[in-house]
C-alpha cells in the first residue's frame, strides 16, 4: 500500500505542472491564438520567481514565500506573454514566429542574467515548502496519504485552477466570448465583442498559468533552477491537444501522462518490474508511446478551435 501512496504522491509532482500549463494553453487557443511559447514562458516564470525565493529566503520562508513566488511567477509569465500577444494579435504575425522567438529568448536570458549577477547559471534555493503531513486532513484513510501527505500547496493550487478554469470557460459570459473568438471571430465581432481584447485576455491568462507552471514544476523536484524546464512546455502543448482543448479531458490527459511518467521514474521501486530484463530506457519511453497509441485511436474527430492560429483581420469577412 505504501508503494501506491508513494506513486500517487509522485504523480502529483509530474501531473500538476503539466495540467496548469496545458490549461494555460487552452485559454490562449480557445481565444484563437496558438501558444507554442509555453516552454519559454515556463522558463521565464520559474527563473524570476526562483530568483525571488533565492533573494528573500533568509528573510522569510515556508508557504508565505511560496505564495508570493507563485504570484510573481504568474505576473512574469503574463508580462512575457504580452510580447506573443502583441505580435500575433496586433501585428497579425505567424504565431509560430513569436512563439519560437520567446522559447529561444527565455533560457538564454535566464542563463545570461544569472551568470552576470552571481557568476554561475544555476539559481539555488532552499526547499522550505515541503509539507510532510497536513494536520487533520492527512489522517483521513486512503485519501489522506494520497493528497495530504508528503505534498506541496502547489497541488491544491493546481486543482483549484482546474475548477476555476472550468467555471470561467463554460459558465461565464467571458468564457462564452472567449470561445466564440476562437471558433468564429467574425461572428463574435459582429455582435459587438472586441476580438482583440478577448484574445489579449486569453494570451495573458495563458502566460500567467504558464509562469506559475514553471515554478510548480521546479519546486517539488529540485533545489536549483538551471534555465530549463526539460521540455515540459512542449509536453503541456501535447497534453492540450491530447485533452482536445477541453478542461475535463485535459485533466485526465495530464494525469494519464503523469501516472505513466511516475511509473517510468519509479519502476525500480516495484519489485516485480525491477527483476524483468528490460532496459531503464524502455520504461522511460512508455509514457510517450502510450500517448501516441491512445491518440491514434481517439483523434478522428478533432475538437480544435476552428479559428485557432488564424490572425483576426477586421477587414476580411
Amino acid at each position: 500500500m505504501n508503494t501506491v501512496y508513494f506513486l500517487a504522491q509522485q504523480t502529483m509532482f509530474f501531473a500538476i505542472p503539466l495540467l496548469i500549463v496545458a490549461l494555460g494553453g487552452m485559454f490562449s487557443e480557445r481565444s484563437g491564438v496558438v501558444n507554442i511559447a509555453l516552454e519559454g514562458i515556463m522558463v521565464m516564470g520559474a527563473f524570476v520567481s526562483i530568483s525571488f525565493i533565492s533573494f528573500f529566503q533568509n528573510v522569510m520562508s515556508g508557504q508565505l514565500l511560496l505564495l508570493l513566488a507563485i504570484i510573481i511567477a504568474g505576473l512574469t509569465g503574463a508580462l512575457f506573454a504580452l510580447f506573443h500577444a502583441f505580435a500575433s494579435i496586433n501585428l497579425r504575425a505567424d504565431q509560430t514566429i513569436s512563439g519560437t522567438a520567446l522559447n529561444m529568448f527565455a533560457p538564454a536570458f535566464a542563463v545570461f542574467v544569472a551568470r552576470m549577477i552571481q557568476g554561475v547559471q544555476q539559481v539555488q534555493f532552499k526547499d522550505t515548502f515541503h509539507i510532510s503531513k497536513v494536520p487533520f486532513l492527512g489522517d483521513i484513510p486512503i485519501l489522506g496519504p494520497i493528497l495530504f501527505q508528503n505534498c506541496y500547496i502547489t497541488t491544491y493550487i493546481g486543482i483549484a485552477i482546474v475548477i476555476i478554469t472550468e467555471i470561467i470557460i463554460n459558465h461565464t459570459k467571458f468564457g462564452l466570448r472567449l470561445r466564440s473568438c476562437g471558433e468564429y471571430p467574425q461572428a463574435a465581432d459582429s455582435v459587438g465583442i472586441n476580438v482583440y481584447k478577448i484574445r489579449y485576455a486569453g494570451v495573458l491568462i495563458s502566460g500567467m498559468l504558464g509562469g506559475i507552471g514553471g515554478l510548480v514544476f521546479v519546486v517539488p523536484t529540485s533545489t536549483n533552477f538551471n534555465a530549463t524546464v526539460a521540455g515540459y512546455g512542449f509536453l503541456a502543448l501535447a497534453v492540450l491537444i491530447f485533452g482536445q482543448w477541453r478542461t475535463n479531458k485535459i485533466f485526465f490527459a495530464a494525469f494519464f501522462f503523469g501516472i505513466m511518467k511516475t511509473f517510468a521514474a519509479a519502476y525500480s521501486g516495484i519489485p516485480i518490474l525491477k527483476e524483468l530484463p528490460i532496459s531503464n530506457e524502455v520504461y522511460k519511453m512508455i509514457p510517450y508511446i502510450a500517448t501516441l497509441i491512445v491518440l491514434a485511436f481517439f483523434s478522428k474527430s478533432s475538437q480544435a478551435p476552428k479559428a485557432s492560429g488564424i490572425p483576426y483581420d477586421k477587414g476580411s469577412r
Binding site: 514566429i97 529568448f105 533560457p107 491537444i241 524502455v282
Partner: protein, 367 residues
Amino acid sequence: MKNKFNLNIPISKWGISFFSAVAAIVIGLLFGFIILLISNSKEAVPGFIAILQGGFADGAKGIGDVLYNATPIILTGLSVGFAFKTGLFNIGASGQFTMGAFAAIFIGIKFSFLPGHLHWIVALIGAMVAGGLWGLLPGILKAFTNVHEVISSIMMNYIGMYLVNMMIVDYVHDKIKNQSLPVAKTAILPKAGLDKLFETNNLNIGILIAILAVIVIYIILNKTTFGFELKACGLSPTASKYAGINAKRNIILSMVIAGALSGLGGGLLYLAGSGKYLQVVDMLAPQGFNGISVALLGMSHPIGILFAGLFIAHLTVGGVNIQLYSFVPEVIDIIIAVIIYCGAFALMFKNIILKLNKRGTKEEAGK
C-alpha cells in the same frame, strides 16, 4: 499595362522581404549591443565588434568554422521549412536528427567491411532512412488517424532520444566516457581539400552536401508537379482535395522527406571527424529546435534557409569569440530570438511599403 503589373510584383515582393529581413537583423543586433552595454559597458564595443566579425575574425579558419557550424542547422532548417510549405509543423526535427546521427554512427562502426569510398555514403543513406522513418510515423498518424503532427512529433522526439540512448549502450558504447565509440576512418566524410583551404580540420564535404540538398529541395518545390501539389496542400487543403490531389500521400511524403533531411543533418555532424560523439544524456538535440529558427529566418525558402543557416553559424562563432571579453555566449541566442521576433513585423513593413508603392504607381498613372 497588365503585363507590366505582373512582372513588377514578384520583384518588389522580394525586395520587401529582403528589406524587412535586414531591418530585423539590425534591430536584433542593436538589442544585443544594448544588452552588452548594460552588462559591461567597458568591453561592450570590442565584444560587439567580435559578434559582427563572427567567422571573419580568424581568417580562413573562421570561415571554415562558420561553414562547419552551418551544415547541420541548414539541414534541420530545410526539414522544418519544407514541412512548413506543406502546411505541417515539423517540431520533431530533433528526434529525426538524433536517429540519423545514430544510424550513421552505427553503420560507421559496424559496417567496416564496406570499401572505403562506399562506407560514408552508405552511412549517410542510413542516416536519411532512419530520419525518414522517424518522420514517416507522424505522417501516417496525421494522414490516417488525424493525430496532430505537433504532438506526435514531440512524442517521437522523446522516444527517439531514449531509444538512441539505449542502442548506444547496447551496441556502440564507450563505457568510460559514456558516449558512442569513434567511427571507422572510412566512414568519416572526405575533406576534398576543404580542410587545407580553410585551415580547419572540422570542415569536409558536408557543407557541399548541405548546399546540394538546398538545390534539390528548391527544384522539388519550384520545378516539379509534386512540389506544386505539396504547396497546394499547404495553402489550401480543401481546394487541393477538389483538384484531385492525394493529400494523404503528400502529407506522408512531406514528413518523410523532412525527416530524411534532419537525419542527414545528424549524419553529417557526427561523421565529420571533428571529435563529436553521441552522448548518453536525457536531452533533446538542440539542432532540431535551431532548425525552426533557421526556417523562420529563411522564410521557409530553400535559398533563404541556406543564408539563414550561414548567418546564425556566423553569429555562433562570434558568440564563442566574445567569451574573450568575459561575455556569456547566450547573448547570441538573445540576438537571434529578437531577430526572429522582429520577423513578425515583416508583415507590417510589407503593408507600409506596399501602400507607399501603390501611392507611387497611382501618382505615376496620374501623370
